[in-house]
């Protein structure tokens, strides 16, 4: 095969791997990245265990209350529950947050923001589904504008059932999440990258007016 042909084939494959960003106008496309998320292998052995320990002991929650369950997050900061003693603290921007707490039902309108925020978080990132609504829709299971199963749209590491689960349950959930992170069981970031097409298909099925890039860097 000639060198030119080979280069052309590589360029075609590269183009096919790029994201279409069809929701954006031509002007906007220049501002956004069209690269897919890639799997990033963890470190090995003691290094990864140490990294996981640090990740588990420093959980920064994204301060984005997506539904009514977010009301249970506030008491965690108060003196009665005091989540800071477990190394958990809120963070106002997705770039710096590591844990995304989906507070109850996720309406289609919020789902768009959930996807954007989740993709902007830096990996490894963890998702905690709070309340029954994130598991099967809960009392909104036949609602016209909420999703039923959260893990069809973003990878979820742990669920806390209940409507509402109390702050104690939330703390117990956080501590279970910490154990799972330390055991190296939470790899939602790589699972999202590997099943990116499936997640995107599901997201686009419910978010009709898709006016954002396919992957938000």
């Amino acid at each position: 095969m000639k060198k030119d042909e080979m280069n052309e084939q590589i360029a075609q494959i590269d183009k096919a791997m790029r994201l279409g960003n069809e929701g954006l106008s031509d002007d906007q496309k220049a501002y956004f990245c069209d690269q897919r998320p890639e799997r990033i292998d963890p470190y090995h052995g003691i290094l990864e265990r140490f990294a996981n320990w640090a990740r588990a002991e420093s959980l920064w929650i994204l301060g984005f209350g997506t539904g009514c369950g977010a009301i249970e997050l506030r008491p965690l900061m108060t003196s009665r529950y005091d989540m800071y003693r477990y190394g958990i603290q809120p963070r106002p921007t997705p770039r710096q947050a590591g844990v995304f707490v989906i507070g109850g039902y996720a309406s289609v309108k919020t789902m768009k923001r959930i996807v954007r925020s989740y993709e902007q978080m830096q990996g490894p990132k963890f998702v905690l589904g709070l309340g029954s609504c994130t598991i099967n829709g809960g009392m909104y299971w036949d609602s016209y504008n909420t999703i039923n199963r959260l893990d069809h749209y973003i990878p979820v590491d742990i669920y806390i059932a209940g409507c509402m689960p109390r702050p104690e349950a939330l703390l117990a959930g956080f501590n279970r999440l910490k154990e799972m992170i330390k055991a190296g069981q939470c790899d939602g970031m790589n699972s999202y990258a590997e099943n990116f097409d499936w997640y995107k298909k599901n997201q686009k099925q419910i978010i009709k007016h898709w006016n954002m890039p396919d992957y938000n860097w």
Partner: protein
């Protein structure tokens, strides 16, 4: 010659290592003090270490260009520069750092330098809250520099020097030689401006999480943020050491440095825990009001 340079480099590294760890532990301790004020238990004292490790071992990091990389570097350079030109412990070879005559002006410049570097980095991130935070930070900084500069002019006129080491030397020989007693007006002006410099409440208008989450470092993540957190520890330590040297007689041992800087920091934390946040305009008006008048009074007293 080479041996001297190697020894000085070794001493500098030891000095930096000590101030970094001290700054981090101080940050952790003060978070616990704040928690106690609020009736909580609070985070572990070593939490800042875990946060920095976590941020540095994140698997991904997004850059927005060359200046985005350089922003935290400038910030760190500002922190290191501030610390390295202040003698941390008077009479100690290891903690003398690179103090020389006239270094006070350089140190005051370095306090500004990091903020300006961060402005460039934050500007390139493209997030609208970053320039708002930077604008607030620079405006407030210009405001609190006025009483601080007046205070420095007053004590420089009083002691006829601009060298931090000489200030410490002139304050030796008893608690009544400290500038806090020989020139209380200058000390009051400077300690009020120190509240603004440490950016705690009520002057936390730069990183105001409920208004402009979270100001300049909105887009900073992973190791960029780790670097900023490390710098915060060093910069905090440097500022505390500077104020201890200028107004509270300096320190002749590491232990007295730790005690004095701890108490100075505790003062800012207690003020922060007691007052809510100012708005940006209120903060600037505040510094240009009574603290500036106290500063002018301190200068006038020296002129008479």
């Amino acid at each position: 010659m080479m041996k001297d340079i190697a020894i000085k480099a070794g001493y500098t590294l030891i000095s930096l290592f000590v101030i970094t760890n001290y700054g981090l532990l101080l940050g952790g301790t003060m978070a616990r003090v704040r928690a106690k004020v609020q009736g909580r238990i609070g985070q572990p004292v070593w939490q800042p270490y875990i946060d920095i490790i976590k941020n540095n071992v994140l698997r991904t990091g997004i850059s927005h260009g060359v200046m985005f990389y350089l922003g935290p570097v400038f910030r760190l350079a500002g922190g290191l520069g501030t610390y390295l030109f202040i003698p941390a412990v008077y009479g100690s070879l290891v903690f003398a750092n690179f103090a020389f005559s006239g270094d006070l002006l350089l140190v005051m410049y370095f306090i500004f330098f990091g903020q300006l570097g961060m402005a460039l980095g934050a500007g390139q991130s493209g997030h609208p809250y970053s320039p708002i935070g930077v604008a607030r930070g620079l405006a407030q900084m210009s405001a609190f520099e006025v009483p601080f500069a007046l205070s420095v002019i007053a004590i420089a006129a009083q002691y006829q020097t601009l060298s931090v080491t000489e200030f410490v030397a002139l304050q030796q020989g008893g608690i009544l030689n400290w500038i806090v007693f020989t020139n209380p007006l200058a000390t009051i002006a400077a300690m009020i401006s120190f509240l603004g410099m440490s950016m705690g409440n009520p002057f936390s208008i730069v990183i105001a999480p409920q208004e402009i989450p979270i100001g300049p470092p909105t887009e900073m993540q992973s190791s960029f943020l780790g670097m900023l957190q490390t710098n915060r520890a060093i910069f905090n330590g440097a500022k505390l050491v500077l104020f201890m040297n200028l107004y509270f007689g300096g320190a002749t041992s590491v232990l007295s440095m730790v005690v004095k800087t701890f108490l100075i920091y505790l003062y800012t934390v207690i003020v922060g825990a007691s007052f809510p946040r100012f708005r940006a305009d209120q903060s600037i008006r505040f510094f240009l009001g009574i603290p500036t008048l106290i500063g002018i009074a301190a200068v006038v007293v020296q002129m008479i």
